[in-house]
């Protein structure tokens, strides 16, 4: 488990936080959502009861949406971080291209694509 220095866990700050602290808080929130996904996924997979399995999986997927929301918020608050994240995506795409693997950019929205049918 990560050990994040979480700002204002026990007491709320008296004044509005600085932008820096807010960005740090969002990072901590992302970690919290990832932890939740990790746990819900384990519990859903372990559950024998079909209803429990479905509910836990549904909650897990809601947490995934939250991660997306928080990353989007983080990129809004810290454009420099957004640039670094974009650089990371580009580097992975370059690795995939060097391996001859289609990237999601090449694919349809569902990640599926027709592509070349040549043998």
């Amino acid at each position: 488990m990560p050990n994040m220095p979480a700002p204002f866990v026990a007491t709320l700050p008296k004044d509005k936080v600085t932008k820096y602290d807010l960005i740090q808080a969002v990072r901590a929130d992302i970690v919290g959502e990832l932890e939740a996904i990790y746990l819900y996924d384990a519990h859903a997979n372990a559950a024998a009861d079909p209803v429990a399995k479905a509910v836990l999986a549904d909650i897990r997927d809601e947490e995934r949406v939250h991660v997306g929301e928080l990353f989007t918020l983080l990129k809004y608050l810290d454009p420099k971080e957004a640039e670094h994240l974009a650089d990371g995506e580009t580097e992975v795409r370059e690795v995939m291209e060097s391996l001859g693997i289609a990237t999601n950019d090449d694919a349809g929205a569902g990640g599926l694509t027709v592509g070349s049918l040549k043998d």
Binding site: D106, G108, A109, G110, L112, T113, K118, D119
Partner: protein, 273 residues
Amino acid sequence: MRYLMRDGAPLTDSQWGQIDAAVVQKAKETLVGRRFLTLVGPVGASTQNVHLDTLSDNHPAADFWGDNDESQIRVKDRRFVNLAAIYSDFRMSWRDVENERGAGVQAAIDAAMAVARREDDVVFHGLKEMDIDGVFTAEGVNRLKIGDWNKGEAPLQDVVKAIEVLVGGGASGQRALVVSSDLWGKLHRIQAGTGIMEVDRVRSLVNGGLFSSTRIGENKAVLLYTDPHNIDLVVGQDLTTAYLGNEQLDHIFRVFETVVPRVKRPRAIAVLE
């Protein structure tokens, strides 16, 4: 990919997954052109046109002394061709959407098949309205009279003749043969005195593959050298599904793609008709 407007559709991820898988599967089963053409892209949905170059010489020349400008091979003509946006719409009833067990996917499959067939139409016949040339319609392709494929070795002789013409014109590399459905049937007979199916004898001549298509008409075939310096297929947006909106509780979707074939060396193509 906001232009697909999928966020506005009342489908679950699972339902989108079913549609995407069915659409791609049917397109792969239907498409013929992509089995022998080199695919360029996807170059992006926003790409509206691409260049199409014609070189100065269909018979590349080489020289010895280093002072002959006339032997330079260069782009003689560069024009820009539009990518055709091919689409087919389908409708899912609200009850099928609520069903969540794959109901309504059949309509998506039919739409995918329609788009795939239309892509092959453009590959083979071009699109006159958009000034797009196809394999059969490009100016300068070799046109040979086809024999009676019911008789003797006519299929083999026709293909050999076509190869001779193309090689004589400077073509080299992989060659593919596409035949109409009726000719495909005529190839499936034992060649007298050989004990070998005519289709197998013809196939042995085409290292780029032998294909059958329902989109090229009857009693027609085309032999072509398929290297990308002769011909390729540019894809902007590969085949996918977008949400158009709702109407009387039902939901309308669009299967679409943007493509254009580029016939760069018509002399590398021989139409048998």
